[in-house]
């Protein structure tokens, strides 16, 4: 692989009236890696992907996909790109084979080469034996597989997957995640958008966190987690006297932050194992009883909370 970035995003901006959907987003994706764009609904992920797919024209900025500018070289971009949209985008009254054949033609495949590739993709997605049934008759999971298969037909260098696991059952979700990893193993670059932290953590080489149109953080999982100082979050509930206990907990060694919301006291600490006994003891001294304990190791949820003050799922 060359040093050429697979995707290079340079200060992309897009507004819809007063709604600034994407505000100066820049990042880079190396060839052969999985890059996740993580963020809640409305963060600007799909708008960013749409611009990178040449579906939307950016108001400002540019991006390059395998060296092709999305502004000036759209054909080059589209030839290098495979897109798996969030919604199933297939012709339900055509068979899987007919769908793949048609889309293959749209990606400039023809003749025997197209036929061979369609067979190959049907094998990859495991639907060879049902290829001649109409897609409308497929289950949701099967449709999603064909949806992915279409993006693979022309062996793109880069593949976008826009929230491919939304609304599907755990088994299908697992299959998709596994297939993403396989794509990377085959040398493809994957730009993956999701609002599921676990997916981003599991799959990604690099993660970009978006919120309100901005890229608020970008890096590996470890780098992002370090932003919150690798602190563990401990959520505790008390039966009484929380207002007396909290100041005391702040004095406990290893505790960096104590806050309360909706009856839950959150403690950020370096090491929960060291801190917990002291928390219990302090509570007892103040005639308070801890009724529940929830320990959260440092993760992207915490990062998002740290950076925005909101939970990722809010």
């Amino acid at each position: 692989m060359t040093d050429l970035p697979a995707i290079e995003v340079l200060n992309l901006r897009k507004s819809f009236g007063e709604n600034h959907a994407v505000q100066g987003v820049s990042f880079e994706v190396s060839q052969g890696e999985i890059f996740s764009l993580l963020g809640p609904n409305g963060a600007g992920k799909t708008t960013t992907i749409s611009m990178l797919s040449c579906l939307l024209r950016p108001d400002d900025g540019d991006a390059r996909v395998m060296g092709h500018s999305i502004r000036a070289e759209q054909t080059g971009v589209k030839s290098a790109l495979g897109v798996v949209p969030q919604d199933i985008a297939l012709y339900e009254d055509l068979t899987a084979r007919e769908n793949l054949t048609f889309w293959g033609k749209m990606y400039n495949l023809r003749g025997a080469k197209l036929k061979a590739r369609v067979d190959e993709v049907l094998d990859i997605i495991g639907l060879r034996d049902r290829a001649n049934e109409r897609v409308g008759k497929y289950s949701g999971g099967m449709k999603r597989r064909v949806n992915i298969g279409v993006a693979l037909l022309h062996k793109p260098k880069v593949i976008y997957m826009d929230e491919p696991t939304v609304g599907i059952d755990p088994q299908s979700r697992r299959n998709i995640l596994d297939s993403v990893v396989r794509l990377k193993d085959e040398g493809m670059t994957v730009l993956y958008t999701t609002h599921y932290m676990e997916e981003a953590q599991e799959l990604s080489d690099h993660i970009g966190i978006m919120d309100h149109g901005k890229l608020i953080a970008c890096g590996t999982n470890d780098e992002l987690v370090k932003l919150v100082g690798q602190k563990t979050r401990i959520d505790l509930t008390l039966n009484a006297n929380a207002e007396n206990v909290m100041p005391a907990w702040r004095e406990v060694e290893g505790v960096s932050l104590v806050s309360a919301e909706d009856g839950v006291v959150t403690v950020l600490a370096q090491d929960s194992n060291l801190v917990l006994p002291h928390l219990f003891e302090t509570a007892t001294r103040h005639a308070a009883r801890i009724t529940s304990v929830d320990i959260h190791e440092p993760n992207l949820e915490a990062v998002f909370l740290h950076l925005t003050g909101r939970a990722l799922r809010d």
Binding site: S53, C54, L55, T75, K78, S79, L81, V83, P85, D87, I88, A89, L90, Y91, E92, D93, L94, E98, F102, W103, K105, M106, Y107, N108, V150
Partner: protein, 434 residues
């Protein structure tokens, strides 16, 4: 090549829908078949064998002293003591039995009631003083003709029969009246002789006054074969209806097929198409080509099927091709045009149904009211405000064997409509997906 791929893909989807195929092909043939059956049923030997007109006659004539009816002067030699009986016997004669079915009523009210309750179409009420008034040179005799106002043909035939007979009788009375007006008092006794001479010399005695008075020729090229005549008559009604249905449903197919752009937008396959290295122009062109080709298939199938099933003669080959081209181009372009104004398919359900129904009906007015001069005028004016009107006009010109030039003029106008519709439609779609 991609344009063709997209077009063929859309056509495959269209023709896979049983519903769409039925709507495109089945419905026009079904509606026409219905009319073919309606009229084919009664088309017999030479013209329509219309059902007999049911006539209720109330003969209240009490007779008149002065008028003696010579049985020799009554067709069939029937006896009649009064003028009223004469009228009744004429209407009940064998010559009339093919056209009318007479029922006798006891009173005027009963005769009118028969019409009101639809057991008769016409009531003829001969007043009590009919013979008296006929015999009196200073009086006019009147017969009441009471008809069902919703009917036109039966009563018109009955009126025509009655008028002809009464004209004959009136001729006699006029002859006598004029004679008496001009004769001296001593000559008035010759009035009876005048009647006899009049009846002897006039056509009242003729078995076939039509043949005596008129020499009827058919225009050159018109068949004399009665069976062919009735078939021509049938086709002259059914042909335009089939043509009208073809135009109407071709425009529906155009709009429905063009709606695939909106459908694909909603199915999200259109945005996906835009992410492929296929130009927007190619995508749009492919979709337009599919509309065009689908209508081509529809029109071709309907022309052939109608000719084969109903024997409809569409005209000379060159005219038929021109006419068909006019329909195809205008239907496909109009479909694109309408759909370019829609935001989504939900709007399309009503908008194109409403717009297409309105414009289609407007274009077909002259077919709905075939024998009406007003409708013919509208066919040349109001109907031409919509593309369907021009398509129907081209169709009728072709079917009527008009010169190719007049069919080509319609084609030219249809093409002009098409260019405008395509231009606007394509511009709007391009702007939408820019």
């Amino acid at each position: 090549m991609k344009i063709l791929d997209i077009a063929l893909k859309d056509m495959t989807r269209s023709f896979r829908s049983v519903f769409a195929v039925f709507f495109m092909l089945g419905v026009p043939l079904l509606v026409t078949g219905m009319f073919y059956f309606m009229f084919g049923n009664i088309a017999g030997e030479g013209g329509f064998n219309l059902p007999k007109t049911k006539v209720a006659i109330a003969n209240l004539d009490e007779g008149g002293p002065k008028f003696q009816v010579n049985p020799r002067n009554i067709p069939g030699g029937k006896k009649a003591d009064t003028m009223g009986e004469l009228v009744v016997s004429i209407l009940q004669s064998d010559e009339m039995s093919d056209l009318i079915e007479v029922m006798l009523a006891d009173s005027a009210a009963a005769a009118r009631a028969a019409v009101d309750n639809q057991s008769a179409q016409v009531a003829i009420i001969i007043p009590p003083d009919f013979s008296d008034k006929f015999a009196d040179v200073n009086e006019d005799a009147v017969i009441e003709f009471y008809q069902d106002p919703t009917l036109t043909i039966g009563p018109a035939i009955m009126k025509s029969i009655l008028n002809r007979f009464l004209d004959g009788m009136a001729g006699v009375k006029i002859a006598v009246t004029v004679f008496l007006d001009e004769a001296d008092s001593e000559e008035t006794a010759l009035a009876g002789q005048v009647v006899q001479l009049y009846l002897k010399d006039s056509l009242a005695e003729s078995d076939d006054p039509e043949a005596e008075l008129l020499e009827v020729r058919l225009p050159t090229g018109t068949t004399r074969n009665k069976e062919e005549e009735s078939q021509n008559l049938l086709l002259s009604i059914v042909g335009p209806i089939m043509g009208g249905m073809m135009v109407f449903y071709a425009f529906f197919t155009g709009a429905s097929t063009a709606q695939s752009l909106l459908k694909e937008e909603e199915e999200r396959t259109l945005p996906r198409l835009f992410t492929t290295p296929t130009s927007q122009a190619a995508i749009l062109s492919g979709k337009l080509l599919s509309v065009f080709m689908t209508i081509c298939v529809q029109v071709a199938v309907l022309i052939v099927a109608a000719h084969w099933i109903f024997g409809i003669q569409w005209g000379e080959v060159s005219s038929v091709i021109s006419m068909a081209a006019g329909i195809i181009f205008s239907a496909s372009s109009f479909g694109v045009f309408i759909n370019s104004f829609l935001k989504n398919t939900k709007q399309g359900g009503v908008l194109f149904g409403g717009v297409l129904t309105v414009t289609g009906m407007l274009g077909m007015i002259s077919i709905f009211a075939m024998d009406s001069p007003s409708a013919a005028r509208m066919g040349e004016t109001v109907s031409l405000l919509v593309p369907q009107g021009w398509a129907v006009r081209g169709l009728m010109n072709s079917m009527n064997g008009e010169p190719l030039e007049s069919v080509l003029i319609n084609l030219l106008v249809s093409l002009l409509w098409s260019i405008v519709f395509f231009a606007v439609g394509v511009w709007r779609f391009n702007r939408r997906y820019a």
